[in-house]
Subunit: 288 residues, 2 copies
C-alpha cells in the first residue's frame, strides 16, 4: 500500500471513531460543532500513535482511542488558536472556523469540550491501567503550561517583542507548540508497551522540527487554495521563522537533513518502521 | 474544630498544593496568571474530595492531588465563563477577572492549561492505577460535553430562548452546569476505594441543587461587596431562576428540604459523615 493510501486509511478509521463517539453525545450545537471541528485533516498525530503502537505489538483496536484522543486534542488547539483574540483566522482546512460558522462562545466551549474528550479517550484504551495512567499523564504534560500552551504563549509574546527570536528561540518555541504533541504521539506505542521510548523520541523530535520548517516554507511558497488556510501571514506579521532566519534554500536543506536523521533514529526497528520513515519524508514534501 | 475552620484548613492545604505545583512551572505570564486564577475561593469541591476520601479510609496525602485537580478544573471553568464572549464578568471573588487583569488571549490559554493540569493532577494520586483511571474518566465525563460544558451551553441558549425554562429545565441545566463537578467531588472517595458510591451520590445531588438555589437567592438578596461578584444579574437578564419560578420563600424552603435530604442520605456513614452534613448546611446559609 502506498504511504498516502495508508495515511488516508488511518485517517478514515480515526475519523469514524471520533464521529461515532460524538454521535453518542446529546444532540445540540456543541456536539454538532465538535463533529465539525474534528472533521478533515491528515490526522498525522493519530497515524503516529497507530504506527508506533503496531511496532510494539499493541493491537490496533486497543490503540485507536489514543489516536482519536490526540486528534481531539489537536482539534481543540486549532479551534482556540483561531479565535479572534488569538490568531484570528477565518479559514481552516478551507472551511470557516468554528467561531465564524457559529460564534465565539461556542468556539470556546467546543475547544474546552474537545480537550476534555481527549482525556476521556486516552483513558479508554484497552491497556493495563498503569499504562493508561502513563499515557494520560504524559499527554497532560505535553499539552499544558509546560508544553503546547507554553509554546503558544511564547509565540504570542514573540509577535509583540521588540527583538525577534533567534534560531534557538524559534526551535524551543516550536518544540513546545507543535513538537510536544508529535512527540507524545510517536512515543505512545512505547508508552503503551512499557518499552524504551528513546528511538521513537529521537525520531519525533527530528520530525517535529522538520514539520515546522516545512510549514514555514509552505507559508512562503504555498497558495491558499491548496493549503486551505491563509498564507504569507508570517512575513506580513514580520515574524521570525526558520525561513526568515536561514533563507529558503538552507531551510529546505535543514528539513531534509532532519528527515534523514529521523529515519536513522528508527534503526532499532529495522524495516518494520518503514511507514514511519515514509511519514517523515511525507512531512517535508507535503503541499498542505 | 468548627466547620468554617475545618473548611478554611482544607482550603489552605489545597491552595498550598496548587501554588507549589505552579511554582514548578516555567516562569512567565501563563504560570503567573494560573496562580492568580486558582487563588482564593472556598474550595468546597476540594473539601468534598478530602472528606469523602477520609470516609473511605483513603490517606489525605493520596487524595490531595484529586482535590487540587477539581479546584484547577473549577478555576478553568470560571476563567472561561468570565470571558467577554461568555458571561462578560469583570469581577470574580472581588478581584479583576483574568481577561481584565491580562487580556483575552491569556485568559483562553490559562483556562486551557488549568483544565490540562487538572487531568495531570487527578492521575497523580498515590492510588492503584485502575482507581486513577476511574477517577480521571469520571472527571472527564463530568466536565465535558455530556456534563459541565453541556450545562454551560444550555445556560447560554436559555438566555436567548423565547420561552424561559421551567423548573425541570432549570434543574437539568444546573445538575449539569454545577452539579456534575460537585457530584464527582463527593463521590471521589468511593471511587478511590472502589466502594459503593450510592449514598455519596444521593448526598451530592441534593447538595448540588441546594447550592444552586442558594446562589439564585444570593443573586437577589446578596450585595456585591460581600459576594465579590455582580448581583442582580439574573433579574436584569430576565432569566428564569429557582427564585423567579418558585418565589423567594419557597426557594429557601426547598433549599432547606434538600439540605435535610442530603444529611439523611449519609446515614450509612453514621457520625463519621458529620463534616459533610455541616457542609450541606453551610452551602445554603453562606453569604457569598
Amino acid at each position: 500500500m502506498s504511504f498516502p493510501d495508508r495515511l488516508a486509511g488511518s485517517a478514515a478509521t480515526i475519523g469514524a471513531a471520533l464521529d461515532g463517539i460524538l454521535r453518542d453525545h446529546p444532540e445540540g450545537t456543541i456536539a454538532q460543532a465538535m463533529r465539525y471541528a474534528v472533521g478533515g485533516g491528515k490526522r498525522l498525530r493519530g497515524f503516529l500513535v497507530l504506527e508506533s503502537a503496531g511496532l510494539h505489538g499493541i493491537d490496533r483496536d486497543a490503540a485507536l482511542p489514543a489516536a482519536a484522543a490526540i486528534e481531539a486534542l489537536h482539534a481543540y488547539s486549532l479551534v482556540h488558536d483561531d479565535l479572534p483574540s488569538m490568531d484570528d483566522d477565518d479559514l481552516r482546512r478551507g472551511q470557516p472556523t468554528v467561531h465564524v460558522k457559529w460564534d465565539e462562545a461556542t468556539a470556546v466551549l467546543v475547544g474546552d469540550a474537545l480537550q476534555t474528550l481527549s482525556f476521556d479517550l486516552v483513558l479508554s484504551c484497552d491497556l493495563p491501567a498503569a499504562r493508561s495512567v502513563a499515557l494520560g499523564r504524559d499527554l497532560a504534560r505535553a499539552a499544558g503550561a509546560r508544553g503546547m500552551v507554553l509554546g503558544q504563549a511564547l509565540d504570542m509574546a514573540a509577535e509583540t517583542a521588540e527583538v525577534p527570536l533567534d534560531l534557538n528561540g524559534i526551535g524551543r518555541l516550536q518544540s513546545l507548540k507543535t513538537g510536544a504533541l508529535i512527540e507524545w504521539s510517536a512515543v505512545a506505542g512505547a508508552t503503551m508497551a512499557d518499552a524504551d521510548p528513546a528511538a521513537l523520541r529521537a525520531y519525533a523530535q527530528a520530525v517535529g522540527l522538520a514539520f515546522q520548517i516545512a510549514d514555514d516554507v509552505l507559508d512562503v511558497e504555498g497558495d491558499a487554495a491548496t493549503t486551505g488556510k491563509a498564507v504569507g501571514k508570517d512575513a506580513d506579521a514580520n515574524k521570525a521563522t526558520f525561513v526568515s532566519l536561514l533563507g529558503l534554500d538552507a531551510a529546505k536543506a535543514e528539513a531534509r537533513r532532519l528527515t534523514d536523521a529521523a529515519c536513522d533514529a528508527l534503526a532499532p526497528y529495522g524495516a518494520a518502521a518503514d511507514s514511519l520513515r515514509d511519514c517523515a519524508r511525507y512531512v517535508v514534501s507535503r503541499d498542505r
